[in-house]
Symmetry: C2
Subunit: 180 residues, 2 copies
């Protein structure tokens, strides 16, 4: 990814127009909207995704009996992937902010959009599966005495928060891809 970031994908945000355009192009495009990759809002979203995913992973991993439930193992795998993906894109955002450039290459935005779609869908499905089992243990079976209900609930809630933070990234990328 670092190879593709060096040249064709990053362009100066406020580059002077190279040619005279026949039609006026609005100065403020969606590409400069906060939350897009390469902006401070985008970095904050990535940071939130990463933090919630790591908290979810840590809380679930501290329970001794999570490997006995398939959905909890799946949650650990999904939030691990989400945290790695979000960390990578947070680093890419920091790089773009430091060199004061944005991501304008359609292939890069497409890659970000597909990656966001896959990781956020995995995180959401894992959070839903864990929520189903947490509610089964806590409400339907009333078996919280033998289980780490509060830790399961915390890990599930953090995975949902990570998905909430990932959704704006995906929707903004997908929207900017479609509006090209």
């Amino acid at each position: 990814m670092s190879m593709s970031m060096v040249h064709p994908s990053v362009h100066p945000i406020e580059a002077p127009p190279m040619t005279d355009h026949a039609i006026a192009i609005p100065r403020h495009t969606l590409k400069d909207t906060q939350g897009m990759p390469g902006t401070l809002g985008g970095f904050l979203l990535r940071f939130l995704q990463f933090s919630f995913a790591v908290v979810s992973l840590s809380v679930m991993a501290t329970t001794s009996d999570f490997p006995s439930v398939t959905a909890f193992r799946y949650l650990v795998a999904a939030v691990s992937l989400q945290s790695l993906w979000s960390l990578s894109l947070a680093v890419a955002d920091i790089y773009a902010i430091l060199v004061r450039r944005g991501y304008r290459n359609i292939k890069v935005v497409c890659l970000f959009s597909i990656g966001d779609g896959i990781t956020s869908t995995l995180t959401f499905s894992a959070a839903c599966a864990s929520a189903g089992i947490t509610v089964l243990i806590g409400n339907d079976l009333n078996d919280c005495a033998q289980n780490h209900c509060s830790r399961f609930e915390t890990a599930t809630a953090m995975a949902f928060m990570s998905w909430f933070a990932a959704s704006p990234s995906f929707i903004l990328n997908f929207w900017s891809l479609a509006s090209k």
Copy 2:
């Protein structure tokens, strides 16, 4: 909805241009793509969503012990909503096909897109929660003798199929909304 469908939302697909346009407008827009509301492909997608949701609902409702698990009750509610929404839009598609018109009003497409987003997210989350519990019963606890494992699995699989059929509708509507 029938009121808003009568006039401002439906327009002739091949209406002659009323004014001379300065720029050429391509004849084949995304609005005529199969799968959009008002096309045969769109109707087929709605029909598949409705069928899978109804099969999932019926199979889950025939198990005597589904009300004891919260996630299964949630699945029944979610696929009921999905089937009602898909049926309404299938009827709207049939109407549009019969009068040979398409849905071009941006407010109507926006409404369809938001409705698709909500119903498909609910169906997907319910399917994930049910899948987590079905796998817990079948694989982790090995307790299929006392439970209707195969019916739970069928209902879950049908809910996933309904979500698979709902995704193209949502993505096409959202894409056409963004590309306006």
